[in-house]
């Protein structure tokens, strides 16, 4: 049965059907032939012998994982044979920082979130400010026409950007994927992208085949992504086989960009200089819809469900996977002691202009939404639009010597 199961390049229907069935039937056959040596080792090393020492750890996984949960889940695996130990390895290897709480676990495939829900649900709740995957539903809304006041004052906002990720149903995620699966992701994505037309038409640059000139060009445009060096990603196995099947696609106008096989199957980015967030989001939604249509034509689809929205490698990116942000100059406001509180109440976060984990240079900040799950794309972008407009208003007031107010905190989730 196994030998008859070959994945065709074009037709993905078989695999999609299997994925929705859980493919458990196929995998069970393999598990039955699992050696008695493995069973012996399980007896020799009960879960208590294997439980990681997390006493010095500060991440969401360490806060939620108990010996009882570990004992329940250690010997389970997803239909693609991904295990709990593999999910948590990055959190065991990276104890974290007293001030920065990382997630500490990753998914190897779509089924990870189901098979290991006993640990993933509390971690998701912890990371996403109380969103309970057992009882709540995540709203998806990519209708960009709903955005109002989405054009910022360009004396303050230097650039606008929206990014998200998408995973291709039926293929394992970057921590788990084999080389063949990763190459399949690349093929599916590149084939779909080659069908884009008009202002979205563009081309693909494979990381392995890039020449020096192309590489320098992409670096200068701030498009090129590098082999991950963060131990959070390395310990999760996401840099394996680099640069095999990794690449960058962008349109000719250089404002719509896709990363392939970095931390997720695909990362989609729409950006441009200036403050027209509405146009950036419009292009983002249009591009995403067209790519989705193009993969549907070949029998593929994105990983998505009602509980968790879009499924991505890191639980922190579930839901919308969306980070909408601007580079904005706030020389006065950033020196005001109320700055952090204002951001907090607006449900915004600040980063340096080099992205996550970089310090700010001067008084230009990267300001974006905190939340990913429990609010739709439109809601989050509107939240950023309203929030940034508020910040610019504060900045102008401080320039004029007027006082500013801390806004009332925004509500978490829709009831």
């Amino acid at each position: 049965m196994a030998t008859q199961f070959t994945r065709m390049l074009a037709g993905r229907n078989t695999a999609v059907v299997l994925a929705s069935l859980g493919a458990g039937t196929l995998a069970t056959g393999y598990l039955l032939t699992d050696s008695t040596a493995a069973a012996e080792r399980r007896m020799l090393y009960p879960p208590s012998a294997d439980f990681p020492d997390l006493r010095k750890h500060n991440n969401c996984m360490a806060a939620s994982l108990t010996p009882a949960i570990y004992a329940h889940l250690r010997d389970k695996s997803t239909p693609n044979n991904w295990t709990l130990n593999q999910s948590i390895q990055t959190g065991v290897d990276n104890p974290g920082h007293p001030f920065i709480k990382t997630v500490g676990m990753v998914a190897g495939d779509e089924e990870t979130y189901e098979v290991f829900s006993e640990i993933f649900d509390p971690v998701i709740k912890d990371r996403h400010n109380g969103y309970d995957p057992r009882t709540m539903k995540h709203p998806t809304d990519l209708d960009s026409s709903k955005i109002t006041s989405g054009v910022f004052d360009e004396r303050y906002v230097l650039s606008s950007r929206v990014r998200t990720g998408r995973s291709i149903r039926g293929l394992s995620l970057p921590p788990a994927c084999s080389r063949a699966e990763r190459r399949e992701v690349e093929r599916v994505a590149v084939m779909a992208l080659s069908g884009l037309k008009g202002d979205l038409a563009g081309r693909y640059y494979s990381l392995g085949d890039m020449n020096e000139r192309e590489q320098q060009q992409l670096i200068d445009e701030h498009f090129l992504f590098d082999k991950p060096v963060s131990p959070l990603l390395m310990s999760a196995g996401m840099a394996r086989d680099w640069p095999d099947a990794r690449g960058i696609w962008h349109n000719n106008q250089k404002n719509f960009l896709i990363w392939i096989n970095e931390e997720d199957h695909t990362r989609i980015i729409s950006m441009e200089k200036g403050g027209n967030m509405k146009r950036v989001f419009e292009r983002f939604c249009r591009g995403l819809k067209q790519v989705e249509q193009l993969i549907h034509e070949r029998g593929w689809e994105f990983m998505w469900n009602e509980r968790l929205g879009y499924i991505l490698t890191c639980p922190s990116n579930l839901g919308t996977g969306l980070r909408a942000g601007v580079h904005v100059r706030l020389p006065n406001l950033s020196k005001d002691p109320r700055f952090s509180k204002i951001l907090e109440n607006l449900r915004l976060q600040k980063r340096g202009t080099g992205g996550v984990d970089k310090a700010a240079t001067g008084d230009t900040f990267d300001i974006s939404n905190n939340d990913r799950l429990g609010k739709s794309e439109v809601e989050l972008v509107q939240l950023v639009v309203d929030g940034v407009n508020y910040l610019i208003d504060c900045e102008k007031r401080l320039e004029r010597g007027q006082d500013i107010k801390i806004p009332t905190p925004l509500a978490q989730f829709r009831r």
């Binding site: 699992d34 040596a37 090393y45 009960p46 084999s178 080389r179 190459r183 394996r240």
Partner: protein, 381 residues
């Protein structure tokens, strides 16, 4: 993964052409040996503990290497790896160990009395002497593959064995995860402390998982005999001291190892060893004796001589900087050690170091006096 690897069977749904790694830009022993045929033949195999071909080669795929430095590019996950994947590992072993054939037998000789001389290296030139090797404990999988439970069991057994030593070997264990700052500083000053691996050669092979769980350092009170637990191998055993008395260092090395081995055997967990490969270790480069015997020696003149590297090659020695592998020399001081591991015994390899260093010190003295050394250049050993 420790309890069976059925993920490997899942990959078999894809064709060999789709799964085989792209090694076109690689320069390591694995990349030179791996063909489509070998990959196709071995990809569905697993050792009893579930270690697979992809596990063996991952480090070599992720680290293409350097045009001038040839790394091995693969590791073993357990003792059986060397058997199940012999179609790949035998040619790699042959390339790395000077043509060693699958039918060859490796001689083990840990009888320090068979060493000739070695107690008279000139301490004005030879600053320190050191012998190290590794040992793997039968019944456990190796660092790239072992689970936390196994690693802790290895630590427990090792600590039990080591703390039962007495006399010149009486000492103490310092687990990495509960070391105090004072202890840590002391161990750094003594040049004993090992750090979490940063080399991608090791991290890509999974050897840094769960750090520092189950890792530690044991040393005797005299600070002349030292054991690393659960770093790149189950055990790394080191004897060292200042000065040029390699004979004494080797004696302590052999005696200490013998005592430790007896204790492990008593627990039915002897060392991994076989007639063909000698002592079985994680990296194929350390098979055989796993022994690196070396000195820190001042050779400012000889090292600038045009024939320095040729002399080393003929003496079957290699040079490293004083920081160890992949470091540069400081002040004309080099780390000189044996190049071979497999196919010759411990005694023979240390003999090469002793004889070779003695000769090189004589050469250095001649060059100091402005005399030529051409008549002293040895034949190929």
């Amino acid at each position: 993964m420790p309890f069976g690897n059925t993920h490997n069977n899942f990959k078999l749904n894809f064709k060999v052409e789709d799964e085989i790694p792209d090694l076109s830009k690689h320069n390591n022993h694995m990349a030179k040996v791996l063909t489509k045929e070998i990959y196709g033949k071995l990809r569905d195999k697993q050792t009893p503990s579930g270690y697979t071909l992809d596990d063996v080669i991952q480090t070599g795929v992720d680290n293409p290497g350097h045009p001038f430095i040839m790394t091995v590019g693969c590791v073993a996950g357990d003792e059986e790896s060397y058997d199940i994947f012999k179609d790949l590992l035998d040619p790699i072993i042959s390339d790395r160990h000077g043509g060693y054939k699958p039918t060859d037998k490796h001689p083990t000789d840990m009888n320090f009395e068979n060493l000739k001389g070695g107690d008279d290296l000139d301490p004005n030139y030879v600053l320190s002497s050191r012998v190290r090797t590794g040992r793997s404990i039968k019944g456990y999988t190796l660092p790239p593959h072992n689970s936390r439970g196994e690693r802790r069991a290895i630590e427990k057994l090792s600590v039990e064995a080591l703390t039962s030593l007495d006399g010149e070997f009486k000492g103490r264990y310092y687990p990495l995860k509960s070391m105090t700052d004072a202890e840590q500083d002391q161990l750094i000053n003594d040049h004993f402390l090992f750090d979490k691996p940063v080399s991608p050669l090791l991290t890509c092979a999974g050897m840094a998982r769960d750090w520092p769980d189950g890792r530690g350092i044991w040393h005797n009170d005299a600070k002349s005999f030292l054991v690393w637990v659960n770093e790149e191998d189950h055990l790394r055993v080191i004897a060292m001291e200042q000065g040029g008395n390699m004979r004494e260092v080797f004696r302590r090395f052999c005696v200490g190892l013998k005592r430790i081995e007896e204790i492990f055997k008593g627990h039915n967990h002897g060392f991994m060893w076989n007639e063909h490969l000698g002592y079985v270790l994680t990296c194929p480069s350390n098979l055989g004796t796993g022994l690196r015997g070396g000195v820190h020696v001042k050779l400012p003149n000889l090292s600038k001589h045009a024939k320095f590297d040729e002399i080393l090659g003929r003496l079957r020695l290699q040079k490293r900087g004083t920081g160890g592998v992949d470091t540069a020399s400081v002040g004309g001081v080099f780390d000189i050690s044996n190049a071979d591991r497999l196919g010759s015994s411990e005694v023979a390899q240390v003999q090469l170091v002793v004889d070779g260093v003695k000769l090189m010190v004589e050469m250095e003295k001649k060059l100091e006096k402005g005399e030529a050394i051409d008549s002293m250049i040895p034949a190929q050993k």
